[in-house]
């Protein structure tokens, strides 16, 4: 898969570890404070789309999922199990999700939360092509969180694996630990660097984790490890993740797998469902329909 920022080992040692080591050595770290806290239950209960005609809610999968989202938000955080299903029969390899995500989360060069892999199989004229979007798997047993020396990355009660930007020291252990290459480092680049002027839209704050993070030298998320977080800043106010809404093939499903009436619960229970690298025991909450 072509999904990882190629950071040479040398670069890593030169910049990453020296920072990390310095931070650790200086004894700033308060381990007690770093223990992941239970997130408070959000007051938001999603959006109310009851004005829309019933047939739209039934026939439009986005509206249906958004209604289900509102239902899930009424429950306590720990009772939700956010899950994603990617129907590869419907993925057309357009990468709308990749860019929708970049734009939503203000991702700089090198940082990608959701690449799409394009593979060709067979010999002419018997050929096939498969497109595989690859977001963070939001593992039940994430290999990335235990390696964090400052406990900046952890799994929330609703199962979403997050990074506390205020805490992350940019050591990039988690990047190495992830078997899916789902994490990338923010080196503080901008796309319009080297052009007549760096453009303001690249410096605008991202709303990740329901905070505003303007892009400023020396400030998070620059220097941090970054990853897909299912757009929790959107889901918690009743909006579907950006990759879900923008999917032009209708291949991306999202919802609460604990809700037995949800679309995702239904899809996960079908025989054509699978997940990536199940043998590792990571137990992803991102599922694939292969065919």
């Amino acid at each position: 898969m072509q999904d990882k920022k190629s950071i040479s080992r040398k670069d890593f040692l030169k910049i990453g570890v020296s920072c990390a080591a310095a931070t650790l050595a200086s004894g700033i770290l308060d381990v007690k404070k770093a223990v992941a806290k239970e997130e408070p239950v959000s007051k938001d209960t999603g959006v109310d789309l009851s004005n829309l005609p019933a047939e739209i809610a039934q026939n439009n999968q986005l509206i249906r999922m958004q209604n289900e989202l509102a239902r899930a938000l009424k429950k306590p955080l720990k009772e939700r199990k956010w899950s994603m299903v990617l129907d590869l029969r419907k993925c057309i390899g357009c990468s709308a999700c990749t860019i929708g995500c970049k734009s939503e989360n203000v991702l700089p060069p090198g940082v990608v939360y959701r690449p799409v892999v394009d593979e060709e199989f067979g010999i002419y004229p018997k050929v096939s092509r498969r497109f595989t979007p690859r977001p963070c798997m939001q593992c039940e047993k994430p290999p990335c969180t235990p390696v964090c020396p400052v406990k900046a990355t952890y799994k929330r009660a609703d199962g979403v694996v997050v990074v506390d930007y205020d805490r992350c020291i940019g050591c990039r252990y988690c990047i190495t630990a992830c078997p899916y290459n789902a994490r990338t480092a923010d080196f503080g680049e901008e796309y319009t660097q080297g052009t007549p002027k760096v453009q303001d839209y690249e410096l605008r704050p991202t709303f990740e984790y329901r905070k505003k993070w303007p892009r400023k030298r020396g400030k998070s998320p620059i220097g941090n490890a970054r990853k897909c977080h299912f757009c929790i800043h959107r889901i918690e106010i009743g909006l579907l993740p950006a990759c879900v809404t923008t999917c032009i093939g209708g291949a991306t499903y999202f919802g609460d797998a604990n809700d037995k009436n949800s679309l995702v619960a239904d899809l996960i229970a079908r025989p054509n469902i699978t997940s990536l690298k199940g043998e590792l025991g990571t137990r992803p909450k991102v599922y694939y329909i292969w065919g």
Binding site: R130, D200, G250
Partner: protein, 1090 residues
């Protein structure tokens, strides 16, 4: 990840160059580029910092106050977009949920803004990246004037006022450029010479009379009479001996790329209605001209013509059909890549993926490349390029042989018969054609077989009643001729389909019989061999195509039309669709349907075609010689003509500049080029550059562009334009969209170009501003005070466009019964809040109010709040039929072609579907493979680029940093090439394999090879959009200072320059002389390792 190209080392290097650059750019006071620090302070960072770090901040992007719904133009699909604005900056684009393009099913039109603001529709990566087109650091803010030779990229940033003064008045404008010291340039005021609309009208009438005279002497006599009659105007004619060239006004040439309604009417108002030039030409033939012009020929109706006072063929629409994918059960996509292009992925993809997964639909893909669409197909047919028509004929043969056509539908000869079967359309399949010496010609008429003509009356629009005689057409039933009028809705006429007989000694055949015979020229096996396909696959596809009733269709696009035989390929595939009678049926062929914004329909608020105080009807042969018969003109000089004439087409892009270069039929004095890049987009684009770069060929070149582009870099002046996110337009629709719609593009953010003053108003520079200023300086009617007669002034773009929005809001019923609702008070407030960041130069409430009458204002707001007008989901269906019907006759036999002549060969054309070999303008078959050019070059579209204008989108570049030359592994082996090799593309007419960019030197045509299995051996392909030589990829100089190029924008290959030149015309690519398409896929090349 492809992103990995940005290594740390590279990053550090970039930082340094940026620092250096900032130092330099700070010193440039001109502020000519967006990057040059003159941009408004949006106050963004202040606000952002203030709220940083606080918990639970508000997510601002789901509030209606921060959203303006508009229309994308990153490609021409026209998806509805939702532009999300943060502190005045466009930061995120999503799909507009009101638009059927970007949500399926879309939400009802009456849905509240509070609902739509929290529902994001789907949109492709190009759509998402639109803010990078808007905020491109290489955008220009000021007028650039050429300081060096054309193409040298040395510019001066000058004031708008100075630029317009110079363009209007002319003079020695480039005295300081070497070699141009004494070159006097005629300004627009010297070209706008004939100004009296009455004289235009009279002259046009007299020219028509000259054309209708056949005898040479009499024609000459009439010309002399013309010269005498208009002797006081002879100094205003291009050539008094050729009155049909028209006045000198025609020497102002307009050429456009992407132009949609609204802007189209505004610019025509200037060029045609006020300036009086006939030369207003578009780019259709580079896209899919032969698709449009086959559609035009097939939609011609034989009906009473008010001008000529007789029944004749006419009224054909320049349009085409696509399949309705929402209801189809079987689709054959031919040269159409619905997941990557094809108008367009956001609208079409969902319907295909849902159809396939639910089991509703299966499809085949006919394409030499294994496209993303092919990845989900039931069958991939890697056809040999240029033989698409042969495949259709094979299928026609199978269908006729097996009697699988829709007999009932095809037997209907006229409207009444169709009505009887509840069919919205009918064909001329059973009409009898006279056959002479084995050649099918004109239709048999009643008078041919001694029958009387039918007396008829017609009430004209002005109320007068005209009596005329109608010579009926004839079909054949039970051994008897049946006479009919195709438009008769009461007396049904039905005929047999395969007729080959004699009536009163005249040899006749039915149209379908002629087509049958054509398809029987080869066995299916022989056709399969021509196409390079398997016979069994053709049979399987034919069988499936005819097994779903009307819920099947062949959906065709560029791969069918962009060949020298494009017209007939399209005709063959549309004939196939006619055989199953699927037009206007759910799952069959559909046409586009739009709300009228121009106001021509009865009862509309503003008829913008009439609101002009002194409207000229321009006349004369156009520079592309279209819509006129060569033989009738005053420059008819036997065959071959110097350049081709086009009786069936218009907007013949490739012919515009080379014709101006050859001064045939006359020379051009000034050119205005808008949102198009002929040098980049056309096959053999170097021939276009050759003309653009030569000051002796076109003395004055004005380009409108948002940056210095591949073609605008050859201009004398570049007028900065507004991007699609800062301006107005009415996008219209595409045939596959089954709802009646009118998406409205509107200003969403503060404009980048600098503010100027015209007619006392402060507005941003744009092409509208340019025309307004020219009109102001020349005191030209149609602009400024009383420009709309009693409906007010035209001082600002919105004076024009808001009237069009009112027309859309009003609907198309004359009593206004289809008007939209008034915006509620709450919606009025949201409308204002969502525009709080716009400067007065684009949004001044009082000025907007002044543009439309009070009764329409709240309706205008209702439409603008929704980004246009869209019918509700259910409104597209009428049982098993589509609601928005074409509803007329469709020709499979084109009688006009039976009478037309090829202006180069002097021979006739085929009037039915046929397979022609790939040939040059003289009809000689192109066989460059015999000279060792073994690979057939084709192009395709990657989702991550769109031809000439998206290379500035860095997000898209992160998906596809460079493009590739695709090659099958068998060919790679044969040629000793390996994956990743750099290769040069050479062809018979470009053996050096390079772009000759004139003033900008030469650029080798070298790209990287990608060896794959998913392409037909013997075919090689590159995707369009890379290989730039301008658009920020090349250093330019403004006021002596260097603007450093961004090398990321110059990666990959653009191999159009390898495409074959026509050996007779020499300075243009191969083209279809009927449908006028350029040939994108008819060149053989070689790949040479470098």
């Amino acid at each position: 990840m492809k992103e990995s190209s940005g290594s740390l080392k590279a990053l550090l290097k970039k930082r340094i160059s940026r620092k250096k650059f900032l130092k330099m750019s700070g010193a440039t006071g001109a502020g000519a580029l967006l990057g040059f620090g003159m941009m408004k302070d949006f106050g963004l960072m202040k606000d952002a910092l203030a709220s940083a770090g606080t918990r639970e901040v508000n997510y601002d992007l789901n509030k209606a106050d921060n959203i303006i719904n508009s229309v994308c133009l990153q490609c021409n699909t026209g998806c509805g977009i939702k532009v999300k604005i943060l502190d005045g900056l466009a930061v995120k684009i999503d799909g507009n949920p009101y638009s059927p393009w970007t949500m399926w099913p879309h939400i009802p039109y009456k849905s509240l803004l509070s609902d739509s603001s929290v529902i994001d529709g789907h949109i492709c990566p190009k759509g998402q990246s639109g803010i990078q087109t808007l905020y491109d650091p290489y955008r220009i803010r000021k007028v650039l004037k050429r300081l060096g030779k054309r193409g040298e990229n040395k510019w001066a940033a000058i004031s708008f006022e100075q630029a317009v003064q110079e363009i209007v008045n002319g003079g020695k404008l480039f005295a300081n450029v070497a070699g141009e010291g004494n070159r006097n340039v005629e300004g627009l005021k010297d070209i706008w010479v004939l100004r009296d609309p009455k004289v235009f009208k009279e002259m046009a009438k007299d020219v028509k009379e000259i054309w209708h005279i056949k005898e040479k002497d009499k024609k000459q006599k009439k010309i002399e009479e013309f010269k005498e009659k208009y002797k006081e105007h002879m100094d205003k004619m291009i050539d008094p001996n050729h009155p049909d060239f028209g006045p000198k006004n025609n020497q102002l040439l307009w050429i456009h790329g992407r132009l949609k309604s609204g802007r189209s009417e505004f610019f025509k108002r200037f060029i045609q209605d006020s300036f009086g030039s006939t030369n207003f030409h578009g780019h259709t033939t580079v896209c899919q001209g032969s698709l449009y012009f086959t559609g035009k020929a097939m939609s011609d109706q034989f009906d009473f013509d008010e001008k000529d006072k007789k029944a004749k063929w006419g009224g054909g629409k320049k349009f085409y059909w696509q399949g309705d994918l929402s209801g189809a059960e079987y689709v054959i996509f031919v040269g159409a890549s619905a997941f990557e292009a094809n108008y367009g992925p956001p609208y079409r993809s969902h319907k295909i993926t849902e159809g396939v997964v639910s089991g509703r639909m299966k499809y085949a893909v006919v394409d030499p490349r294994f496209s993303k669409l092919a990845a989900k197909a039931d069958k991939w047919m890697p056809v040999k390029p240029g033989t698409e028509g042969a495949l259709a004929l094979a299928m026609i043969r199978w269908i006729v042989e097996n009697g699988k056509y829709d007999l009932k539908y095809l037997s209907n000869a006229n409207k009444a018969a169709a009505k009887g079967d509840k069919e919205p359309t009918w064909t001329n399949a059973c009409w009898l054609v006279k056959v002479k010496d084995g050649k099918p010609g004109e239709f048999l008429r009643a008078s041919d077989i001694g029958m009387l003509k039918t007396p008829k009356t017609k009430t004209l629009q002005d109320g007068t009643v005209v009596e005329y005689e109608f010579d009926n057409f004839v079909c054949y039933s039970n051994g008897q001729p049946v006479l009919f009028d195709p438009n008769n809705a009461e007396t049904a006429a039905e005929g047999e389909l395969l007729v080959d007989t004699e009536i009163n000694g005249i040899k006749v055949k039915s149209a379908l019989e002629i087509i049958r015979a054509e398809s029987y020229k080869h066995s299916i096996k022989e056709w399969a061999d021509i196409c390079g396909l398997e016979e069994e696959d053709i049979i399987a596809v034919s069988s499936e195509f005819t097994s779903h009733g009307k819920r099947a269709c062949a959906d065709i696009h560029r791969g069918v039309s962009q060949h020298t035989n494009g017209f007939y390929n399209v005709l063959a595939w549309y004939t196939l669709n006619l055989l199953i009678g699927n037009f206007d049926w759910v799952g069959g062929m559909s046409q586009a349907s739009t709300y009228d914004n121009v106001g021509e329909k009865e009862g509309k608020p503003y008829d913008l075609t009439k609101l002009h105080p002194k409207k000229i009807s321009s006349f004369g042969i156009s520079i592309i010689r279209h819509d006129v018969k060569y033989e009738e003109t005053t420059i008819f000089n036997g065959y071959p003509a110097k350049r081709p004439w086009f009786p069936m087409a218009s907007d013949i892009y490739q012919e515009i500049l080379p014709s101006a270069g050859d001064a045939y039929p006359y020379s051009i004095k000034a050119l205005i080029m808008y949102m198009g890049s002929p040098g980049y987009s056309l096959p053999a684009g170097q021939t276009q550059i050759e003309v653009l770069a030569d000051v002796n060929k076109i003395p004055l070149v004005i380009a409108s562009d948002i940056t210095v582009g591949e073609s605008s870099m050859y201009a004398d002046y570049i007028i900065p334009d507004l991007s699609y996110l800062e301006r107005w337009e009415f996008q219209g629709s595409h045939p596959s969209v089954i709802w009646k719609v009118q998406p409205v593009r509107q200003p969403t953010v503060a404009p980048i170009p600098e503010e100027i003053e015209v007619f006392g108003e402060k507005i941003p520079i744009s092409l509208e501003a340019f025309f307004l200023k020219v009109a102001e300086l020349m005191n030209m009617p149609g602009f400024g005070k009383k420009a709309f007669k009693d409906a007010g002034d035209l001082n600002r773009p919105e004076d024009f466009y808001l009237k069009m929005v009112a027309n859309v809001a009003f609907g198309d019923e004359k009593d206004g019964s289809k008007s939209v609702a008034d915006a509620s008070d709450e919606e009025m407030e949201i409308f204002l809040k969502a525009r709080r960041h716009l400067p007065k130069s684009v949004f001044d409430l009082e000025k907007w109010q002044a543009a439309v009458s009070p009764e329409y204002r709240k309706k205008v707001v209702y439409v603008l709040n929704r980004g246009g007008r869209f019918d509700d989901f259910g409104a597209a269906f009428d049982g098993k039929q589509l609601k928005n019907k074409y509803g007329k006759q469709i020709n499979m036999y084109i009688e006009k072609l039976a009478k037309a002549k090829n202006s180069i060969s002097g021979k006739g054309f085929s009037s039915i579907a046929t397979h022609l070999p790939i040939a040059d303008s003289q009809g000689n078959i192109i066989e460059d493979e015999k000279d060792g050019f073994s690979l057939n070059l084709i192009t395709y579209r990657e989702m991550a680029q769109c031809k000439s204008r998206t290379i500035s989108n860095y997000w898209l570049l992160s998906l596809l940093p460079e493009n590739f030359i695709l090659l099958n592994s068998l060919d790679a082996q044969r040629l000793g090439l390996r994956n990743g090799d750099s290769v040069r593309v050479i062809s018979k007419t470009n053996p050096a394999g390079e772009w000759d960019l004139k003033g900008a030197g030469k650029k080798p045509m070298i790209g990287r090879l990608k060896v794959i299995e998913g392409i037909r051996p013997g075919v090689t392909a590159f995707s369009l959009g890379h290989g730039h030589w301008a658009y920020g990829s090349r250093d330019i100089f403004i006021d002596g200072r260097r603007v450093i190029a961004d090398k990321r924008r110059g990666t990959g290959i653009h191999a159009n320059a390898a495409m074959r030149l026509d050996p007779y015309l020499k300075n243009v690519c191969l083209q279809d002389l009927v449908g006028a398409s350029v040939a994108f896929y008819d060149t053989n090349v070689n790949l040479v390792k470098v």
